[in-house]
Symmetry: C2
Subunit: 365 residues, 2 copies
């Protein structure tokens, strides 16, 4: 057994993150996280047929209810959120109940937000079944839904009581989803862990082949990075914004293309390549760094350029509605090196326009 366990340290809101194969069926992992008797397992119609029974069997000693939502980012809405409230109230769930989010980032974000709001806050458990959710959205307590005018615009900070990242669930993930998850893994290397970036350059094939040991290693290292940053800045007043590397560009791509056409991780990959391009135009990183970043993303099966049909002006418009748009100008996460990101509003607007309009980069990558 190669299970790894991390603790996200947030005082009385601290919680464990377990990573490894075969975790879903281990009742003993759930028990410390569940304080009452009522448990509702919420999943979607893709994941539920695969893993719902295993989870429910592990939780059979509780008063258990199941709820299945439609699968897809287009269902991450207030309306679908309300169906969770309907179910909780119909089943007369009380304040000491616990919700279990079984699925990818959409299920995790929505169930987490439902838990944040139901009776002004109840417990919940994250069981992420995509690599993206395992290394990113299930850890750190960001929850929410989309609005037609912006992604994740309605939400709450609400920490889970437990995260179970069972690597066996990645066996049913399609290749495109796996690659999208690797985008966020690469992000941690770029932000603050050059050694991990280099490990990824050497081991990317093992991840794509779903080697369990490599997956556990990469997920653990990613979650450790995220847990440290969240522990230092839970509500994103400072350092936590580093985790948005590639995301301001990426959200603009997702919104501009309509949710669901690009996977989140794909948009973030293109966004990170754009952040690298913009950083290089300022001379903060070398062109060889840009080439290495683009090469690793490509090897992981990820896009490195935004879609051709978003104009520079439209890009700026989509970026300005982003949460990171502050009174004092749009701040971006850019790179001083591979393994050293920074948050800054002090960049050249001409260079930004060059990046957005996809002027040929200075490097020929």
């Amino acid at each position: 057994m190669i299970k790894q366990t991390l603790q996200l340290e947030l005082g009385e809101r601290s919680y464990p993150i377990h990573i490894g194969p075969g975790l879903l069926s281990l009742t003993a992992l759930y028990e410390p996280a569940i304080r009452g008797r009522q448990v509702m397992v919420v999943s979607n119609n893709t994941v539920a047929p695969l893993y719902m029974d295993t989870v429910c069997e592990a939780l059979q000693d509780y008063r258990l209810e199941r709820l299945i939502l439609p699968d897809g980012e287009q269902y991450k809405t207030l309306e679908v959120l309300n169906t969770i409230f309907d179910a909780l109230l119909e089943k007369r769930f009380n304040r000491s109940c616990c919700l279990v989010a079984l699925g990818g980032g959409v299920v995790g974000d929505m169930v987490g937000f439902a838990a944040a709001c139901y009776q002004r806050g109840v417990d919940f458990i994250q069981i992420p079944t995509t690599l993206l959710a395992q290394v990113d959205s299930s850890v750190g307590g960001k929850t929410g839904v989309n609005h037609p005018l912006g992604k994740n615009m309605i939400g709450a900070f609400h920490q889970p009581r437990l995260v179970l990242a069972d690597t066996d669930t990645l066996s049913t993930l399609d290749d495109r989803q796996l690659s999208a998850g690797i985008a966020e893994v690469i992000k941690y290397g770029l932000i603050e862990d050059r050694e991990f970036f280099e490990w990824l350059e050497a081991n990317i094939t093992r991840l794509l082949e779903r080697d369990t040991e490599a997956l556990v290693y990469a997920i653990e290292r990613s979650c450790r990075c995220k847990a440290e940053i969240v522990a230092a800045d839970e509500r994103e007043s400072g350092k936590r914004a580093l985790l948005n590397l590639g995301h301001t560009f990426g959200h603009a791509i997702e919104t501009g293309m309509g949710y669901g056409n690009w996977l989140h991780g794909e948009a973030v990959a293109a966004g990170m390549a754009m952040a690298a391009d913009l950083s290089a135009r300022h001379g903060w990183i070398d062109n060889t760094d840009v080439s290495r970043i683009r090469a690793l993303l490509k090897k992981a099966g990820l896009p490195t350029d935004p879609p051709g049909d978003i104009s520079s002006d439209r890009f700026l418009e989509l970026m300005a509605v982003d949460k990171k748009a502050m009174d004092d100008g749009l701040r971006l996460v850019l790179l001083d090196a591979i393994g050293a990101a920074k948050i800054t509003a002090d960049y050249d607007h001409g260079h930004l326009d060059e990046t957005l309009s996809r002027k040929l980069p200075m490097t020929g990558s």
Copy 2:
């Protein structure tokens, strides 16, 4: 000027509560609470024609937007909440914006909840314009909306940056609304301030006549009581539940009658009379206490009995969906004396049934 100022002490979430006449137009009171430039004043179609211009004039140096919601408890829904998000996103409000809730409890609860969720939390200011909101809902950070299956079932704890209780706004309140507010004022006396209860017995007529000095005194003393309880137990894990005196019965009345037929304060008044009746049936208070409580409520123009058409069984059903229903049995707030409430699940179910089925009370009040 007889302005009173209290501070609700919650560490970095502390905020002032100003009480007095003529406060709406005092720009200097708002300024310390507003951190950015974007301000949206949200009101309803009853209150906006009366006070929106005064507030907007005081805030004219900000980037100001106005939003007017339909008036009434039946509009305290996720759908109407979403119109606030629509407006914020259309106007491109960012994370450092500030919302202003100008109106009664419905506006305050919804705008507060919108502020809690918009971009995972922005600032807001409470300007309560009903007595009920001034002494209760605007203070303490409980926000939310109703669900067809239960009142305030969806919400968040989110503290305002400032509460402005301008007693001049009570001049336009109709008599029934004023009485409904007095119900919550009487509640504070019953919970923990016998001396205040006795002051109310002596001064109820002055309140009904809207004597400014009496109003400022009663509001200040009520807010002080609430602020102390909230400071001790912000998220209602213990003592704060005392504030629910009369509310478990009251919510059942409101839900059973359909929101809006009984005012919240009227339902709470009948609920407090029921709590007193149930306490007397256990011998915890005297029949003369019950008579005094009923007499004060009646003098304030409030009901002291639930509507006749809710059966005992239906009452229990409506009460059990209440947030206070715990795994270990329904806990109620009952009285050990006028000025001494307690939270308990240790009551006789036969006595509860007598109270719910309106068996003749032991006293002939």
